[in-house]
Every structure is written in structure tokens, then in C-alpha cells.
């Protein structure tokens, strides 16, 4: 993402330091991760210390300081899904992809995350891949569902 685009986003939020999180959310949404030089540019333009931005970028789960995989695999670990066996789905996925939640595999194919409640509790356990919701998952089906995503 070039500096011009970053500056545009900052200008849209009137260059206010209180909009720092909103600015980073827009950048994350467009660019899918936050490179170090982007953080430095935002720090400069909004006149906030880099330590504050670093803390924000690592404190909030929405941000990633490393590139993400092509397919985002999110396992809902909300209470309703947990009670319906979400932990087993997660175990199966870890075995299938070889990565743990928060990680991306070396081919940049999958990024695995746990999320707390997608709000589709009637369909629990829920798996969300690339924004598409797969409900009423069973361990038996997990491998089949994952195969669709190359």
C-alpha cells in the first residue's frame, strides 16, 4: 500500500488521533495486513508515538502484522458452539492444516483463527471459511469441507 493511499484514508478521518483504530481497520481491510512502514507512516501523519500504534496493532485481534493466507479458516469457539463440540472441530482442523490458531501455513494457503461467537448459534458448531458459513459441522465432514478450498 503506497503512502498516497494511506494519507487518503487518514484524511477521510480528518487526521484525528482518536480515529487511529478506525484508520488501521481500513488499512487492514484493504491490505490484509499492517507492514511496519505503514505503521510508521500513520505514526508520523497522526502525530502519535509509534509505541502507541504498536500496542494497538498487537492488542486488537483484528490486526495482523504478518501477511495472511489465501483462505481464512475461522472456527467459532463461542459457548453455544463449544457445548456442541467445537473443540473437536478445531483439533481436526489443526491436524489437517498443520497449524495452530493465529498461524498461517508456509505456503500462505490457510490462516487458522478462533473467533468468539459469529452469532449463528442455531447452526453450531460453526466454521467460517472466506466469509462463508458452514454450520452443523461434524469432525467427519471437516476434511471434506476443507477440500473445496484450494
Amino acid at each position: 500500500m503506497d503512502n498516497e493511499r494511506i494519507d487518503q484514508i487518514i484524511a477521510r478521518h480528518h487526521g484525528q488521533a482518536s480515529s487511529l483504530i478506525q484508520v488501521l481497520l481500513e488499512i487492514q481491510s484493504e491490505h490484509h495486513w499492517l507492514p511496519q512502514r505503514v505503521l510508521a507512516r500513520v505514526a508520523e501523519k497522526l502525530a502519535v508515538p509509534l509505541t502507541r500504534i504498536q500496542h494497538i496493532a498487537t492488542f486488537y485481534k483484528a490486526f495482523s502484522l504478518v501477511p495472511k493466507g489465501r483462505h481464512r479458516v475461522n472456527v467459532c469457539m463461542g459457548t453455544a458452539c463449544h457445548v456442541r463440540g467445537a473443540a473437536r472441530i478445531l483439533d481436526t482442523l489443526q491436524e489437517l492444516t498443520g497449524i495452530r490458531p493465529g498461524e498461517t501455513d508456509l505456503d500462505l494457503k490457510y490462516s487458522l483463527e478462533t473467533v468468539n461467537c459469529l452469532g449463528c448459534c442455531a447452526l453450531g458448531p460453526v466454521l467460517e471459511i472466506d466469509g462463508k458459513t458452514h454450520g452443523k459441522m461434524t469432525t467427519a465432514e471437516t476434511a471434506d469441507v476443507l477440500k473445496h478450498y484450494n
Binding site: P49, L50, T51, R52, Q54, H55, T58, F59
Partner: protein, 194 residues
């Protein structure tokens, strides 16, 4: 600033509006243990060692003295069975990370803490925030900051700023209760050394 009269451990203490219980106690020479408190910095409320029991209008509760504002008629007890139990627990939780800290060893003796109560997780830094806050509030250089949250929280130097500022400063080093800070600085300079 109007004067406020409160009672600490049975003694009448005079304070000014806007002071915290801890400040009032310090001015009166009454000791309350602290770790993350420093008179040049905004109170942080992180270590909770300064927890005291207060009573106002018949209501009793536990609060952190470093942030609780004084009010007329307040009664403060700096040592009770429950307060001591909690301070002992806090020290034990800290000792799991930094068993050799001098500051913690003193508290360990005073409260009869068991340094082996919890399995050791030698991460040393106990997140008191003194270094981060000193650099931000007093030196205003922001060379070191926190990253992440919860149990994953750590301190982290900004290499570019640290390279410029820290060698000739190092004012935060004596503040660190566990010397984790010095270790972090050495690691940072080692990593950014070309």
C-alpha cells in the same frame, strides 16, 4: 484546594482535595507497599499491592490506594487479614516470573509468601510499566512500549528510537524491579546491530 480529613489505621490524617489515599498516607509517613507506583508518574493501578480496606458511610470494600481519591470521613485500614492474604497471593504470582528480584524478596519476607507456590515461568518482566511510563511521561521519547495483551503482554523497544536515545539516557534502568528491562534493551541492540 480544600482540606480533607480522613482516618488511616486509626490516625487522623490531613490531606488536600485531589490527593489519592496513597499520597495522603505517604505524606503522613504511613507505609503502604507499592511496586508500580512512582511519584513522577501517573498512577497505573497494575500491581494491586497497595490494596487497602476502606470504609465510608458504613460500606466496606477493597480499593487500590494509588488511584482512590481521598474523601471526607473516609476510614482506611492498610493491614487486615484479607488484605494481607491478597498481597501474599500477588507476591507469589509475581515470584513465579521473577524469583530473584530484590524488591519481591523483601515483600516475600514481610508477607510470608511461598516462592514455590506456582510453577516457575521465568519471563522476568512483571509488567509494572515503570520503564514504559517513565520514557513516555518524563523523557517523552517513547523508546519502549507495551505490545499485545493479557498473558502475552511484553515490553518492546523501538529500535530506531532506542539507537538514538537510550545509550546516553538509561534513566529507566534503575526503576526496573527485575532487571528484565536491561535484558530487553541488550537484546534489542543486539538484534538491530548491523
Amino acid at each position: 484546594m480544600r482540606e480533607i480529613i480522613l482516618e488511616i489505621d486509626g490516625r487522623e490524617v490531613k490531606a488536600r482535595e485531589g490527593m489519592t489515599v496513597l499520597e495522603a498516607a505517604l505524606a503522613a509517613g504511613i507505609r503502604i507497599p507499592t511496586l508500580c507506583y512512582h511519584e513522577k508518574l501517573e498512577p497505573f493501578g497494575s500491581c494491586r499491592l497497595c490494596t487497602v480496606e476502606i470504609e465510608i458511610k458504613g460500606w466496606k470494600k477493597l480499593v487500590a490506594a494509588c488511584v482512590y481519591p481521598v474523601e471526607p470521613g473516609l476510614m482506611v485500614r492498610t493491614r487486615t487479614e484479607k488484605v494481607d492474604r491478597i498481597r501474599k497471593m500477588i507476591v507469589e504470582l509475581y515470584l513465579a516470573h521473577a524469583p530473584d528480584s530484590f524488591v519481591l524478596e523483601e515483600l516475600e519476607r514481610e508477607y510470608g509468601a511461598d516462592r514455590n507456590r506456582f510453577a516457575k515461568e521465568a519471563s522476568f518482566c512483571i509488567h509494572c510499566g515503570l520503564c514504559v511510563r517513565y520514557c513516555a511521561e518524563v523523557k517523552q521519547k517513547h523508546a519502549v512500549g507495551f505490545v499485545d495483551r493479557g498473558t502475552r503482554k511484553e515490553i518492546c523497544f523501538v529500535p530506531e528510537i532506542a539507537a538514538r536515545e537510550c545509550w546516553n539516557c538509561k534513566e529507566c534502568f534503575p526503576l526496573c524491579p527485575t532487571e528484565a528491562l536491561q535484558a530487553a534493551y541488550v537484546l534489542c541492540t543486539a538484534l538491530s546491530h548491523k
